[in-house]
Amino acid sequence: MTDEPEHIARRFLSLDRMVHEPARLAIMTVLAEAEEVEFRFLEAVTGLTKGNISSHAAKLEVAGYISVRKEFRGKVPVTSYSLTAHGREALASYRANLRATMEPG
């Protein structure tokens, strides 16, 4: 049987921890639905603080899951994020793995 508790535990442990963290999962979920998302919307829709978004986004950027674009609109700095192809794959595979772990037999 492949659904032994050990096997399920192994599957859980093999989940991508970069994606599994709730704040990062929320950020990636939002980015997956758009071509590019401004910082302000992420802050609004996820309810995360500015500092939290910045630090998680920095980790996702280092992992190559998201790309960051900074520009000035007038005198106001604007930061926008988008999911990279690598990030999209990671999110899809995370979801597939989690689903497989949760589904019975």
């Binding site: 979920t29 639905e33 758009a34 071509e35 998302v37 609004a44 829709v45 979801r95 949760m102």
Partner: protein, 212 residues
């Protein structure tokens, strides 16, 4: 979505609905576009304005529409921050087709005007002709930059074509370009529905503890 993350499912749906207002959903600007088409169509066909100022007012319809559309989009429908809607490749291809089509038509019309005026170049400066040529030449650029959906295209191109004609002292007669007023009615209905959806979306975002 996994079966265990309803919050993230909700995030995804909210983002998708909000992102639509960056590109494909016009809301109140679609309502305004539809109303402008109906006004310019019926005024142009039934009560063509003789005075220059009235003609200029009628010809300004596409400019008024495009400016209000951008303002509504930037200041109202994307008030929680800009979120760019993803564009499927089929939509990209269709948009490219619309740009090429208007580019070819504009080039044909301008070439014809230049051909007709080859012996009498003064014609090019007569009777609103510079404005006509400017509108026709701008058409593919406007389609490329602002008109993304088929309804946007029908309504926008009609407004531009009507503006170009009005400047030369003519306009479409009743029964011609009938697709424009029909599309306008759909445009108004869709715009109202989109706007109501946005007001619901705004409430939902506010319930998440969000303020614009």
């Amino acid at each position: 979505m996994t079966p265990t993350d309803p919050h993230n499912s909700q995030l995804a749906i909210l983002t998708r609905r909000y992102a639509a207002f960056s590109r494909s959903a016009g809301g109140l600007s679609s309502v305004l576009g539809g109303i402008l088409v109906l006004i310019t169509y019926f005024v142009g066909a039934l009560a063509f304005p003789e005075s220059l100022w009235a003609r200029l007012a009628l010809a300004s319809a596409p400019i008024v529409w495009l400016i209000s559309r951008q303002l509504l989009r930037n200041r109202y429908y994307q008030q929680f921050g800009r979120v760019a809607e993803p564009v499927p490749s089929s939509d990209r291809r269709m948009h490219k087709g619309m740009i090429i089509f208007t580019g070819v038509v504009a080039a044909g019309v301008i070439s014809f005007v230049l051909y007709v005026a080859r012996d009498e170049p003064a014609l090019l400066l007569d009777n609103g002709m510079p404005g006509y040529i400017a509108f026709v030449a701008a058409m593919p650029v406007i389609v490329w930059r602002y008109l993304h959906t088929p309804l946007d295209f029908i309504v926008g191109v009609f407004l531009i074509a009507q503006a170009a004609l009005v400047l030369t002292g003519s306009g479409y007669s009743l029964g011609h370009q009938i697709q424009a007023p029909i599309a306008a009615v759909f445009f108004i209905g869709i715009g109202i529905r989109q706007h109501l959806d946005f007001t619901r979306l705004r409430r939902e975002l506010s319930q998440l503890g969000v303020s614009a």
